[in-house]
Subunit: 213 residues, 2 copies
DNA sequence: TTATTTTTGTGATTTTTATCACGAAATTTG
DNA sequence: CAAATTTCGTGATAAAAATCACAAAAATAA
């Protein structure tokens, strides 16, 4: 269903898709039925033209004189984003940040299913966090052998990041959601890495407020 | 010292600066003294030309036939990023994510000083998290009146995001580091918002692994 | 029903971003 | 010390991304 029209989708477009989904989802929950590209654009602070051009990478979802049906477009974008694959994810590192994700992050809203949490700390192993029994990191390889897993979430100390990455790759994951503040190396494994670098974000903010002064 | 050369620095360049800093900092800590744009580029997976072009927005930091002195360039970029302003920050919302930041995030490494933490939960107020005495959110306005604060960190529930934003703006912050999953509105206040949208990041990963399948 | 308005999807254009390529300057080698 | 090599900074070029503009289609109004 995806990419029915053109060739490769640019990174710029890919990065906007989640926001389209998020915005449409909010309208959907508010019960709004239809929206034009210009209304959607002004609510997002981008041009109508950009929205139409972006969507044209994937197909024709609108109707002249009417606009877009919000429920339909929301569903199409969910589909494009792969939210209906119901990917499985495991979390490595049940420290503060890992716990915050376990407790607060609504994985189901992104189509993901969190299936297990691991840690190296004996004091944590066996405890329950938000319904997840924390497993020993020693059992990770075995777990991955018996449970096909799409994504590994790295919330371990940076010193462990590359080692854990290697185990995840060997275990056959497709992607790694990396919260450690280092670039991890996946070699030619073909595994996709998506990093959340808190410090990069804060430093960008630092630049922007300095610039204005 | 910044922007000695050209006009406006593009967003693309701004987003790369923190990574330059992070990479140079790692080399600096390893005791490496000098590096060429091509060596830096291949270590970062970008072109030498892009690095030289990016840096040229801010000045001339290299030397023909030699390359860049790592300690010097690291310092220059820290300066460009505003890391020497020692901006102050307060954290609103001492739940799981807030606690993770309080405990794990090295604010000092980005030049920031965390000065206070707030929460609305009476059970949390008065407790100490990583050396910070959690203050009542009721005292926020008063705090901001008496303590000039550069940045507010939003780790509150999304339902409180806009309300807290309004208080931060009224209190005179320059920037908001937004971890809530909504777009906050700062009107014409001139306050800079930098958002960390976990779900956007995970959905981008979802798209990328779907695309390969 | 017919005219007017709205709005899409897309080719063309403009703007932005990244890469190329080379002179100039400094280092390193012989 | 001179020749060869390295490497920067930048103007020119290429590629990518965003915007414009309009025909076509559908909705709405008269």
């Amino acid at each position: 269903m995806q990419q029915v029209k053109k060739g490769k989708v640019s990174n710029a477009v890919i990065r906007r898709l989640p926001r389209y989904y998020r915005t449409l989802d909010a309208f959907y929950r508010d019960g709004i039925v239809r929206i034009s590209s210009s209304a959607l654009g002004s609510s997002m602070g981008i041009t109508a033209s950009q929205i139409r051009q972006d969507l044209s990478c994937f197909g024709e979802f609108g109707q002249q004189g009417y606009g877009y049906n919000i429920a339909d477009l929301r569903r199409e974008i969910a589909d494009i984003l792969g939210m209906n694959h119901h990917y499985s994810a495991i979390l490595l590192g049940s420290g503060n940040l890992g716990r915050a994700l376990l407790r607060n992050f609504r994985f189901a809203k992104t189509g993901f299913t969190l299936t297990a949490a691991f840690d190296a700390d004996p004091a944590l192993i066996g405890t329950s966090i938000s319904g997840f029994n924390v497993r020993s990191i020693e059992t990770l390889d075995e777990y991955l052998k018996t449970h096909s897993t799409s994504v590994g979430i790295l919330t371990v100390p940076k010193s462990e990041a590359q080692n854990m990455t290697n185990h995840l790759i060997a275990g056959g994951v497709k992607g790694i959601w990396n919260f450690t503040n280092v670039e991890i190396d996946v070699g030619d494994s073909g595994v996709t890495v998506e990093s959340v670098h808190f410090s990069d974000s804060l430093l960008a903010l630092s630049y922007l407020i300095s610039e204005k002064a």
